[in-house]
Symmetry: C2
Subunit: 303 residues, 2 copies
Amino acid sequence: MAEADFIQRLRAIATHPAARGLADDAAVLGDLVITHDMIVEGVHYLATDPPVDVAWKLLAVNLSDLAAKGAEPEGVLLGYPLREADWDAAFADGLAEALGHFGVPLLGGDTVSAPKDAPRMIGMTALGRSTHAPDRRGALAGDDLWLIGAIGEAGAGLAIAQGTDGPADLLSAYRRPVPLLAEGRLLAPHAHAMADVSDGLLIDAARIAAASGLAVAIDLDKVPRSAVLTAFAGDDRAARLAAVTAGDDYALICAAPPQAAGEIERTGALRIGRFGVGAGLSLHDRDGDVPLPDRIGYEHARP
Amino acid sequence: MAEADFIQRLRAIATHPAARGLADDAAVLGDLVITHDMIVEGVHYLATDPPVDVAWKLLAVNLSDLAAKGAEPEGVLLGYPLREADWDAAFADGLAEALGHFGVPLLGGDTVSAPKDAPRMIGMTALGRSTHAPDRRGALAGDDLWLIGAIGEAGAGLAIAQGTDGPADLLSAYRRPVPLLAEGRLLAPHAHAMADVSDGLLIDAARIAAASGLAVAIDLDKVPRSAVLTAFAGDDRAARLAAVTAGDDYALICAAPPQAAGEIERTGALRIGRFGVGAGLSLHDRDGDVPLPDRIGYEHARP
């Protein structure tokens, strides 16, 4: 509960409207969208993950926050603790590759010396512009819950990175997530609320509902499962629940009114649930109510 | 040289004009000024420094970068690794106090779990607006070098924090530096180049000269010394050299043409040197040339 106390103290400071109560993926100051994410060795990535992939992931995680606000990226700043020349050089190469891939400039940052035995904590700030940046707190009762992107593949990829045998596509979903920037810009104008799925589909959908003062019901059968994921993890209820509670997917979810359904379907998003009056998350499938698993996603502090 | 190699790799990526070749205090994108600084326990502050002061310093260091670009702060984002509930709570209180003091909103950030034995690395991003953000690279031959702010007091304060007996004012200069935001805004319209003094007066002045392709000569007698610093550290040449090579001052230096001298004097800045054709740093005082000390400031990697 020390984490909760710290966040509570920060929320009490962050009264500026641009901070959005520290409940959103990013701060929104006029048309400027700005986010800062850190990744910690052993927490957000494995010490054995290749440094080029760690660089990719750091960028992807930050750009995904911009995607969730419908923003076009303008640039990033890096906060980097130097530790080991080879690892650092490979990280820089990976960053160059990833920035080139997404067409985003490196604008600045800070490089510091870190004690040799300290775990790496690498920070990145991303900024972008959005003319319509949906808040996490804006869902209305009666809105549909839409999802775009794969769910559960990164969780399977983590198991593979940790030693389970499995296909490279799933490993890549974990190590090289792809922020859905174009999709975010298409969805934003129609969305009452939007967020990326970083900690698990269930927990992130529940956070939109909680932030909006609503309940949300999700149809587990509607959550898409790729053939590669089904082949790896199976397709029973346990496998489906594992997918919707795994993190690192960087899919997007949004709440939108039923009259926007036509426009939203054209983006490729799938309708997987509904917001209603009340509170809390419920799950169902063709057989009826599905009891919630004990853990609905990654709970970690975020201001 | 691993650091230099890493920075070189980043510079090769950072080709966008807003990055200013990663040679400036901040990135400048239109009227937006944005900077990211990290502070590391045992490197940028002492493990024994009170957490409220560490929060103050983190904010001050970032705002000083904005001051050096003549910017008005708009807000900050925090990258914070949680480790110890009491320390974290005191840090949050110190941050609230410092943000309140400077009237700057907390807009967002990220809080992560950190391994219990990891040294703290805390990141902050500050953004502001400036209609005229002088580059570090813009000094011209014939420009005067101007200084505003105290030099050497934070270095003396560090010695006091490490156990030497000395006055509270100097300790405070080290633990609670004050970014010269109003002074930066007054100087910026007249300055060809401007920077804050974070690593030592000599090294930071030499960096302006190097970035501008010039030489700079500094008159050691013109560098101001407060009575409290003189009483603590003495006033001989060694004491004067110690002051101009100590870090953490967060004074401002700028290069400006002689015809701006009247305007600049009114800000309280002091003329301490001159830029000229050539390369390198030279020092003199009333007795003539002063040999450069072996170490002219803190050399640490910064992208």
